[in-house]
Symmetry: C2
Subunit: 255 residues, 2 copies
């Protein structure tokens, strides 16, 4: 072995030696220089979406304009379906562990939980456009929303387990009939109750107050809410939320 | 215009006509044929991670083995920093809206909230390896955890607003001294209280019970918990959780 080679060997050993036992040098755990506030859109839009799902971002009005493409890609691609599937699978695995009685119910929200209004939002800039209650109501009145396929699978599995389903929806009473036929047309064929918002009782009340109040009534009638699934945090927090709750993804609107 | 061209024009019109007013054909909103249960790892690992952050997946023991690379990429890349930044920015924007009194506190968790143990987990398969309490305690006793840079920024901004900080940590009392010096060394230089777990009081109690109980004591002492930030859902649910809570990302472990 000549001297040059030997020196090279020793240097190589010294350089690699401190890395033994550690595959990753984590330090420094801080922003890359030069990024500053300018994160790439896909990274910061993914952060925005995660912030929504984990209930860190609240009371937002519209999807940030630079995130329209991100939200569209998310909803039209595999990730939304896979995310929904993961939640529904977890809900089923949980339900399987229960000792079901005939007073046990699972509460389902309707929009973006059982039914998808994605076709409407696809035509309205994927939530970037400010919400137009009139246009949305016209869309709902068509009764053409699709079933969310992963929720439909969960629904069928819960019925098979002997759990009753109760729908509680922000949709007003005058849209109840079309909601019933829309749900039935896409495969949600039976339920214990379908509770729509009665404007005479809940005028001006927040979604969460309405849903908590209706869940409370259900427990007073002797039902036991073993599970509760919705796409909004307002569906699954508050009084009598259920033994376990499940949050489906929805980066389109906050309610 | 010759006949061929005219026919082509009419056909082109008929084909594109149904798409007017709709940029996206959403239907069918269901699994792509052939995918079945076999989602690409990156898609299903992203779903697993989202499920964790939105509190759908609970009581899990380890990161799924096929997701090790996904979790490592997430933590060592831009997304983790950006996700943390989004949460901390939101917490600050919220705090700025408050009318602060000298009894107002913001509760901070320590591990994966103020301090990062990423170097430890990088050497232990990014959460795929079953948690080794002894090895982790030895790591903590070195006092070499880094500051989570986005949390440190938030911490300094809250102090500037006049909000007091209280740390509540699952770390046991015998690691309190090293935790104090670790926090100070990386920039968390003052606090109203630092509450470690007293095994004599909380032996066998769940994290959430310990934290709820300590938060309750704080309010009984006259403090008002205006905010609460942690990386575990057990940090931010339960009694006296705070006026608003913030969930930092952590796909490494469930507590």
């Amino acid at each position: 072995m000549n001297t040059k080679f030997c020196v090279l060997f020793v240097v190589a050993f010294l350089v690699t030696w401190p890395c033994q036992g550690s595959h990753y040098q984590v330090f420094p755990l801080r922003m890359k220089t030069g990024y500053n506030e300018q994160y790439p859109t896909q990274v910061s839009c993914a952060s925005w979406r995660l912030g929504v799902e984990a209930n860190n971002l609240v009371k937002w009005k519209t999807v940030p304009a630079p995130c329209q493409e991100h939200v569209a890609d998310y909803l039209l691609g595999d990730q939304y379906r896979s995310d929904s599937k993961t939640v529904c699978r977890e809900a089923f695995l949980y339900a399987k562990t229960l000792n079901i009685t005939d007073r046990d119910i699972f509460v389902f929200d309707v929009d973006e939980t059982a039914l998808s209004n994605l076709q409407y939002f696809a035509n309205h800039d994927f939530g970037v456009e400010e919400h137009n209650a009139t246009a949305f109501k016209i869309w709902v009145s068509y009764g053409e929303a699709f079933a969310l396929p992963e929720t439909l699978k969960l629904y069928n599995k819960l019925l098979d387990l002997g759990i009753k389903v109760v729908f509680i929806t922000e949709r007003p009473l005058d849209l109840k009939d079309v909601t019933v036929s829309n749900l039935k047309n896409v495969g949600f064929y039976k339920w214990e109750k379908l509770i729509a918002r009665d404007p005479a009782i809940y005028s001006g009340k927040l979604s969460n107050a309405f849903k908590s109040s209706e869940r409370k009534k259900l427990t007073e009638e002797g039902f036991r809410i073993v599970g509760n699934i919705g796409d909004q945090w307002s569906d699954i927090v508050g009084e009598k939320r259920g033994f376990r709750t499940f949050k489906l993804p929805n980066p389109l609107y906050y309610d």
